[in-house]
Amino acid sequence: MRRLMAVALVGVPLIAAVANLPAQTGDLPQGWLRMGDHPEDYEMRMDPGAGRTGKASATIKGKGPSPAGFGTLMQSTEAGEYKGKRLRLSGWVKAAGIGEWAGLWMRVDGPTPPGSSYPAMLAFDNMQNRPIKGTSAWKRHEIVLDVAPEATFISFGILLRGAGQAWIDDLSLDVVGKDVPVTGQGLQGPNKKPVNLDFES
């Protein structure tokens, strides 16, 4: 249940997440936002001496032995040039003592459907099925999603649930070919009618 909430909340659009912005000081990497369902339980900042390349990386650290929920360092960008393309978020993550899990995540939003308060989520992956845990040196991770032509915004970041610390550096957003498999499921619209009820295909 709790883990599901994390998924659900990362799925919640930026606007909702902004309401949770903590009054936290410290050097936030330029262009990045502190979010999550319990951002106050996580320290999120630049780490000037801990870069994989260059000098600095960004880090997220659970406060105390059992921080609640999850925190995420994220940003949102217009879908503009990525519409209709397959997009890969890649980045390098280092981990120390992560008891639950951490992951890169990316979400593609579409227009807000009539009667809804939130934009439609068109595609999503948060590495929950291949989580970063424990302690490890710098390792490259990636998320690959299709950006639908009707996409409006793309959000991405790193999330940490529970105790421990993760560092992130050298992120890249690249348009890739269709030969690169997607890592997350696109959210299909509903079927018109039920299909494949006999599991014969």
Binding site: R3, V7, G115, Q185, Q188, N191, P194, L197, D198, F199
Partner: protein, 183 residues
């Protein structure tokens, strides 16, 4: 009971989001179906060609470990348009092996403001070990319905197979099995 059902509604309600994060399972996801649940990574869900009631395959859900938690589900979402104002029955056949928690068919009718009707067989769960047996969920689809979600769920260790599902409109003589919400 009421609380439990509500929780289940919540869980299945948010399932779609978990689906997006769901594992690329070893088993092949049946075309048209999506993998979801609170702990989809702890369940192997997909086609099973070795065990089936008819044809060449069934859908199988299996808790991967003795401590598989939450639930995993195979689901699909359909447009409610075709069923508005009608009573709809989801039926199918289920076979169980060592289901320590429970399994069931489930169906949920969503309106613009949320869940309109729901049943997941939690009150008459599939448990233990049992040969192919028919089970069903019957709900009214109000005129304001937008979407119908339905699927197969397993909570806990063990394995369950489903085959020969059917979604059909039935007449008012068939009793509903689930609860309608007061929205």
């Amino acid at each position: 009971m009421r609380t439990v059902s509500r929780l289940a509604v919540l869980l299945v309600s948010t399932g779609a989001l978990a689906a997006t994060a769901a594992a690329m399972e070893e088993a092949t996801t049946p075309p048209g179906w999506s993998v979801a649940g609170t702990h989809p990574a702890e369940y192997e869900m997909g086609l099973d060609r070795a065990t089936r009631r008819s044809g060449v395959a069934s859908a199988s859900l299996r808790g991967k470990t003795p401590t598989a938690g939450g639930f995993g589900t195979l689901l699909q979402e359909i447009d409610a348009a075709h069923y508005r104002g009608r009573r709809v029955r989801l039926s199918g056949y289920a076979k169980a092996a060592g289901v320590a928690g429970w399994a069931g068919l489930w169906m949920r009718v969503d309106g613009p403001q949320g869940v309109l009707a729901f049943d997941n067989m939690q009150s008459r769960p599939i448990k233990g070990t049992a040969d192919w047996r028919r089970c069903e969920v019957v709900l009214d689809v109000p005129s304001g319905a937008r979407a119908i979600w339905f699927g197969l769920l397993l909570s806990g260790p063990g394995q369950v197979w489903f085959d020969d599902l059917q979604v059909e409109a039935v007449d008012g003589a068939v009793p509903v099995t689930g609860t309608a919400s007061q929205r």
